[in-house]
């Protein structure tokens, strides 16, 4: 096998060069014919006339361009930030995506008048001057009240171990819970503390009062992909060792919820019938006018 250029190209362009001592210099002085003079496609195409790049005479201009390159770090890139924010908003779980605006508006009016939500109350919309009686299901009230939903990352632990810690702080004020967890020596206490601190930050970003925030729910679940390996035992037997991973999730709620629950309890008590210690119903057996014995 051999590689050969078209004969025309070779005859035109290969010009052996001599140094002063008569030695033919092969490599460095040898100009590559294809790049300079002719096109390898022969007469079909023409090589560009000014193929050699022209050096700019005004060197100061080029220097200025070199010294001020557009530094596009991600933190300075406004377009990228915008893109990320849009993506985050798309994934965000917000009430606006699931509840109609009218319902939200009436709920807010109710809260503005009472300080917290009272069900089955009449509210007047000042914009349209319409009067509504808003009665919501428990699920709807749960959603509409301000809340923070926290989800941890993957943690190397088990649900059994995490539940002990979760039960410890369930229902606590968040700041109290953080203090308690900080001095608890369990690994999951540290993990939960981190999660709650994140929750405080998020609450501040939403404009909630972080002093009044409390843990409404906290639970843990298996995070899947449990690694298994053999637990070799005596007498030819074998067991399975599980390497479990979990996540922790929590719901933080505000004072509004606490007040509502308290009020509802009061209402329930007020609406309940008075308790009778003695049974006032007729006897459902035959009553005779004499002693049996």
């Amino acid at each position: 096998m051999m590689w050969k250029l078209p004969s025309r190209v070779i005859s035109n362009s290969i010009k052996p060069t001599f140094l002063s001592n008569g030695v033919w210099k092969s490599f460095h002085s040898y100009s590559f014919p294809l790049l300079n003079d002719t096109s390898i496609f022969g007469d079909l195409t023409k090589a560009p006339q000014n193929s050699t790049p022209q050096v700019q005479e005004n060197s100061s201009v080029s220097q200025e361009n070199e010294t001020s390159p557009a530094s596009t770090l991600p933190k300075d890139d406004e377009e990228l930030k915008k893109y990320h924010l849009e993506a985050a908003e798309r994934d965000q779980i917000a009430i606006e995506k699931f509840v109609t605006p009218l319902k939200r508006k009436l709920f807010d009016l109710n809260v503005a008048t009472n300080g917290f939500y009272k069900n089955n109350q009449v509210v007047k919309d000042p914009e349209t001057n319409k009067v509504y009686k808003l009665s919501l299901s428990n699920r709807e009230i749960e959603i509409l009240e301000p809340s923070i939903y926290l989800q941890s990352l993957r943690i190397k632990s088990s649900v059994k171990k995490a539940t002990v810690v979760n039960r410890f702080v369930r229902g606590y004020n968040v700041k109290t819970a953080i203090t308690q967890l900080h001095f608890n020596q369990k690994k999951m206490a540290t993990e939960l503390e981190k999660l709650l601190k994140e929750g405080l930050e998020l609450a501040r970003s939403k404009g909630y009062d972080d002093n009044k925030l409390y843990i409404q729910e906290v639970w843990s679940g298996s995070d899947g992909d449990t690694m298994r390996r053999p637990d070799v035992k005596g007498r030819g037997r074998v067991g399975v060792l599980h390497h479990r991973h979990i996540h922790v999730k929590a719901i933080l709620k505000t004072e509004q919820t606490l007040n509502r629950l308290k009020w509802e309890k009061e209402q329930k008590e007020l609406n309940s019938k008075p308790k009778m210690i003695l049974n006032n119903e007729p006897l459902n057996f035959r009553v005779k006018s004499f002693y049996k014995w």
């Binding site: 096998m1 051999m2 590689w3 050969k4 250029l5 078209p6 290969i14 010009k15 052996p16 008569g22 030695v23 033919w24 210099k25 092969s26 490599f27 460095h28 040898y30 590559f32 770090l73 991600p74 933190k75 990228l80 990320h84 924010l85 993506a87 985050a88 908003e89 965000q92 779980i93 917000a94 009430i95 995506k97 699931f98 509840v99 109609t100 605006p101 009218l102 699920r139 749960e142 959603i143 301000p146 809340s147 923070i148 939903y149 926290l150 989800q151 941890s152 990352l153 993957r154 994140e198 998020l202 609450a203 970003s205 939403k206 995070d223 899947g224 992909d225 991973h245 996540h247 719901i251």
Partner: protein, 279 residues
């Protein structure tokens, strides 16, 4: 128990108390072999050490001394090498190929020839290439001359052994690919430029960052949410506060909201239409 084994490990070790004291300069590392038997005179053939055509030179010396020429040197084999030498010298003068050209024309070579960085054993007058396995040394010589105008004065071939590879769940090992490399001798020296330090560092950082991103792609469970911090936080998203909406309610609520939006849009459209028609 381990402390016991540590203790007896040194039980039989007795360090030398007085090491012999010798000056480094007095030590001859490559000591010449001992002379055995009588010292003989050098042969005439041994006198020629630096010659392109030693046999011719030796023959001349023997003739001058009037001695019979050893059969070893009384050959015509050097005529061939002399002829080749002259052919090459002529080629260097005229700029032609310094070897006999092949007869098959290849206009668009598709072979991948990679110039490699030299090892410690190579001189600046040598260059090493990674070549396809179907290449022979004549191919490379021809290729380099016609594509780059580089004369390969000598070509040596190194066919590398294949590595055994064994994957995690394989029952057997298998061989990787074989690589062929060729080393040529050149007329003029060539030294690879040093890689700039900044460039190397940048390449390293890019690699580290890429590894982080790839690792993230293999994350499991909840860790998938945690975007990698590679490339100066290119992937990091702002953290927004979520409201708690149960999964079942989310689907139901989204549908409700869609219906509401559609209806309100219908109402708006009707209004516009009635205005347009003066109803």
């Amino acid at each position: 128990m381990s402390s016991f084994w540590n203790a007896i490990r040194f039980a039989h070790f007795k360090p030398l108390k007085n090491y012999p004291k010798i000056n480094v300069n007095d030590v001859t590392l490559d000591r010449p072999a001992l002379q055995k038997g009588p010292i003989r005179r050098k042969l005439i053939s041994q006198e020629v050490t630096d010659s392109l055509f030693p046999a011719t030179e030796i023959t001349r010396l023997y003739k001058e001394a009037g001695k019979p020429i050893p059969r070893k040197f009384n050959t015509k084999s050097e005529l061939i090498s002399r002829r080749n030498f002259e052919f090459q010298q002529e080629a260097f003068r005229t700029g032609d190929a310094h070897f006999r050209l092949g007869e098959k024309n290849v206009y668009f070579p598709k072979a991948r020839i990679v110039l490699l960085r030299p090892n410690a054993k190579h001189t600046p007058y040598q260059a090493k290439f990674l070549v396809p396995r179907n290449f022979n040394r004549l191919d490379l010589r021809d290729y380099l001359f016609h594509v780059y105008g580089l004369r390969a004065l000598n070509v040596t071939v190194q066919l590398l052994h294949t590595k055994w590879t064994r994957n995690r769940h394989d029952y057997a090992r298998f061989r990787g690919p074989q690589f062929k490399k060729m080393t040529i001798d050149m007329e003029e020296p060539f030294i690879w430029p040093e890689v700039p330090k900044e460039l190397a560092e940048e390449a390293q950082t890019v690699r580290d960052n890429q590894i982080k991103v790839i690792e993230h792609n293999f994350k499991k469970g909840s860790d998938k949410k945690n975007k990698p911090k590679a490339f100066d936080g290119l992937y990091v998203r702002p953290k927004l506060a979520d409201n708690f909406v149960p999964r079942s309610t989310r689907d139901k609520g989204a549908k409700e909201l869609e219906n509401f939006n559609r209806k309100s849009e219908e109402v708006e459209n009707k209004k516009v239409l009635s205005q347009f028609l003066n109803l």
